[in-house]
């Protein structure tokens, strides 16, 4: 005879064994139900949370952007802010958005060249030191020569050159963001 207070106090060992297996079944069922409920809730939520991770959520027009008149470009680099006519940023469509700074100059052969102002080390915006004739990154003291080659500092490559086209006396530059950090120039 089991204890009087025991809820499973039915007589006999056989019933007790049956009760034990019933409770084992209930515990397993509880685990399955709980797991199922958790999954049913967390799978949609997780998919939603990560839903935009693999998407290009911020985009602008890929065409070259009008930067400056050809005759304004000299041997000394000029900092020009490239502005996108429109940018799609998730739900928003915004007009005339600054994308980044480029340094435009004429090389000794007379060709117009453009260097991205994004430091290839960690992506800070670099400045130009007119006295020294070098580009300087303020974040970690990276120094780059006039044509973009790395002089000193932590960057693993020189400044990234951007494609330039001349159209009707205007310099047009295609804005590309490259991955920073590595020694290879790979579009981000």
């Amino acid at each position: 005879m089991a204890d009087r207070d025991d809820p499973d106090d039915d007589e006999g060992g056989r019933d007790q064994r049956g009760e034990a297996s019933r409770r084992r079944f209930l515990k397993v069922a509880t685990g399955c139900l709980g797991g199922g409920l958790g999954a049913a809730l967390l799978i949609p939520a997780g998919r939603l949370a990560l839903g935009v991770a693999g998407r290009k959520t911020v985009t602008s027009t890929a065409e070259p952007i009008d930067a400056i008149a050809v005759e304004q470009v000299g041997a000394t680099p000029l900092a020009v802010t490239l502005r996108a006519a429109s940018v799609r940023d998730a739900w928003a469509a915004t007009r005339d958005v600054p994308l980044g700074v480029v340094y435009v100059r004429k090389d000794p052969a007379g060709a117009i060249r453009a260097l991205s102002g994004v430091c290839p080390h960690l992506g800070c915006t670099i400045g130009f030191d007119a006295a020294a004739g070098t580009y300087v990154c303020p974040c970690h003291d990276g120094v780059f020569a006039l044509e973009g080659a790395r002089v000193t500092g932590p960057a693993k490559r020189g400044l990234d050159e951007l494609p330039v086209t001349i159209e009707g006396g205007r310099v047009k530059i295609q804005w590309i963001r490259y991955r920073f950090g590595g020694s290879d120039k790979v579009p981000a």
């Binding site: 207070d5 809820p7 409770r23 209930l26 949609p44 939520a45 839903g51 739900w91 928003a92």
Partner: protein, 580 residues
């Protein structure tokens, strides 16, 4: 020492498990699953709310756009948002059931009064979640429903206006309303609710399951009641999934527009406040709207204070049942009556269909073009020819559209071959110049009697003047020959009223009829709109107003001319699609 021992020494979990395995007075029961189901629904709201917060932006410029983005452009977005909205409805429903079961069984009685009160406060929290959450979508529905709710508070007794000013953050609905309601909805209310749930559970454990005196203890909390709880949660979740799928999510109307009208109806659980007003005189409407929740909540709070005898009397039990029955009839009945009244209202159906069309249009535009930085309403400006159509509606439509117009009909196919041919063949036709005064003049242009092939050639010649690239040069040359000849009907004799008598087809010289050089080209249209009374256009016969820069700016004019040029190749379906 095993990991279990280590953990038990620090948490005492084994004792808690043993306690959960203790026999339950009254035994496991389906009715006891309602509390756990509510806990589960609150977790569901928390999880779905958290992931939605990753997409939401509480500003008047972004709110609608970010919800539309979640709804239409993110996988599972519409479904999760639907679960969040309808989960709220499920919470209200299950709280109602939980309250009824507790009230009928008398489980609110000593010593469980505080458990009951915390439960009633959780009911209030749920309703507060509903009110603060609904405005966040910043669509017509959320905007107007919340505005009306706040208007009741303003009209109500006490410092209603000041309360609303504090709640909405100043004198009007705007950015601060969204940031405040958002802060309440995602920070303050969840924390308060968490505390209340913690207290409610802790105290109800302290007192143990409620059961009638003398009820036999049988079954166990774990696993007998637990498995019932989980099964009930599963049933709830399946029902919620099915309902959400059936409703296609939470829905999203057009962006909030403070200048428009919208038939905002309250959530079903607030419907009695809306519906019962219809049955009372105007002076009592506010009392109904504000008094009803006070009566219901007051009764719930006061119940344990009234029912205090050591043994529950049959009278008390009976009166609780009677009050619940009255609530069921009045609240339930008014909800049903309200939905039935809406179902019978044909005007409402029409306005809702119109609103749905507007919502579809706004969401399609948002999907295709994004929402401009100026906010949800700006999405309409991204529609094709938006600027031109606005100018058209403001300045042009009254004379060039509809039966009351005074000028030629301008629509799809304007200045295409068929249109030009029609004008040449029968200028006084109703679709062309039939509504003008000039066709009634004695020297008005007559019907052209030339052979069909000649009219075709003339039409091709005029068509080429529009700048259309597909004009047939041979036909144009033939048209010019017919135009220049004085024998238009080809009978070998000179005719009266030949083309050249009234029209030039080169230069900018005026004559009695319009000069046809460049007719219908963008430059011609722009110049004509600016001054139609110019000699080369209608001259002294002109009936059309001049549209100077004060009426149509240069940019507007350029947009309008682009639109008119587009009409030449557009079909009626293309034009109708602009309004979809």
């Amino acid at each position: 020492m095993s990991v279990g021992d280590w953990l038990d020494e620090r948490t005492g979990y084994r004792a808690a498990l043993r306690a959960a395995e203790a026999p339950m007075p009254g035994g496991p029961s389906v009715l006891r699953t309602l509390g756990p189901v509510l806990g589960f629904l609150f977790v569901l709201e928390l999880v779905t709310g958290l992931v939605m917060a990753m997409y939401y932006s509480p500003s008047t410029n972004d709110a609608w756009a970010s919800v539309a983005y979640l709804e239409d452009q993110v996988a599972m977005g519409a479904f999760v948002r639907g679960l969040h909205r309808w989960g709220m409805s499920a919470i209200v429903l299950v709280i109602g059931m939980h309250l009824v079961v507790t009230a009928v069984s008398g489980a609110y009685r000593r010593p469980r009064e505080v458990v009951w009160w915390l439960g009633v406060l959780l009911f209030v929290m749920a309703l507060a979640f509903s009110v603060t959450g609904f405005v966040l979508r910043w669509d017509q529905y959320g905007y107007w429903a919340t505005k009306v709710e706040l208007a009741y508070i303003i009209e109500g007794p006490g410092p209603g206006r000041q309360m609303v000013a504090a709640l909405q953050g100043g004198n009007d609905f705007g950015n601060l309303t969204l940031t405040r309601f958002y802060a309440l909805h995602v920070a303050l209310l969840p924390v308060l609710t968490g505390l209340l749930v913690w207290g409610h559970r802790r105290l109800s454990r302290r007192h143990g399951p409620h059961a009638p005196a003398g009820a036999k203890a049988r079954g166990r909390g774990w696993p007998d009641q637990t498995v019932r709880n989980l099964a009930a949660m599963l049933v709830t979740l399946v029902a919620l999934f099915a309902w959400t799928a059936h409703r296609g999510g939470a829905g999203l109307e057009a962006p909030a527009d403070s200048t428009s009208t919208f038939d905002a109806r309250p959530q079903w659980y607030f419907r009695p406040m809306f519906e019962l007003q219809k049955y009372v005189p105007a002076s009592l409407k506010l009392a109904i709207a504000l008094g009803l929740p006070v009566v219901v909540m007051g009764w719930l709070f006061g119940l344990p204070l009234v029912d205090r005898k050591p043994v529950r009397s049959r009278f008390m039990r009976g009166s609780v049942l009677a009050v619940l029955a009255v609530f069921a009839v009045v609240l339930g009945g008014s909800i049903v009556a309200s939905y039935r009244a809406d179902a019978r209202d044909a005007g409402l159906h029409e306005r809702r269909a119109e609103a749905a069309k507007q919502a579809g249009r706004a969401r399609r535009l948002a999907l295709a073009n994004g929402v401009p930085a100026g906010g949800g309403l700006q999405v309409y400006t991204t529609a094709p020819f938006y600027r031109a159509r606005t100018v058209w509606a403001r300045e042009c439509a009254s004379c060039h559209e509809g039966d009351d117009r005074k000028g030629p009909l301008i629509g799809a196919g304007f200045n295409d071959r068929a249109w030009i041919r029609g004008v040449i063949a029968d200028p006084a036709h109703d679709d062309y110049f039939g509504k003008t005064k000039m066709v009634k003049a004695e020297d008005a242009m007559p019907k052209t009697t030339a052979p069909a092939a000649d009219i075709d050639a003339l039409a091709e010649m005029v068509y080429a003047e529009t700048g259309a690239k597909d004009a047939d040069p041979a036909k144009v040359a033939r048209g010019q020959a017919v135009f220049d000849s004085d024998d238009d009907d080809g009978d070998g004799e000179d005719d009266e009223g030949t083309c050249t008598a009234c029209h030039e087809r080169t230069g900018v010289e005026g004559s009695s009829g319009p000069n046809l050089a460049g007719r219908g080209s963008p430059a011609y249209l722009a110049a004509l709109i600016r001054n139609p009374a110019e000699e080369r256009f209608f001259g002294v016969r002109d009936e059309m107003k001049a549209f100077g820069k004060d009426k149509v700016s240069d940019d507007d004019l350029a947009a309008l001319v682009e639109y008119l040029t587009w009409l030449r190749t557009a079909t009626p379906a293309d034009v109708a699609a602009l309004d979809d």
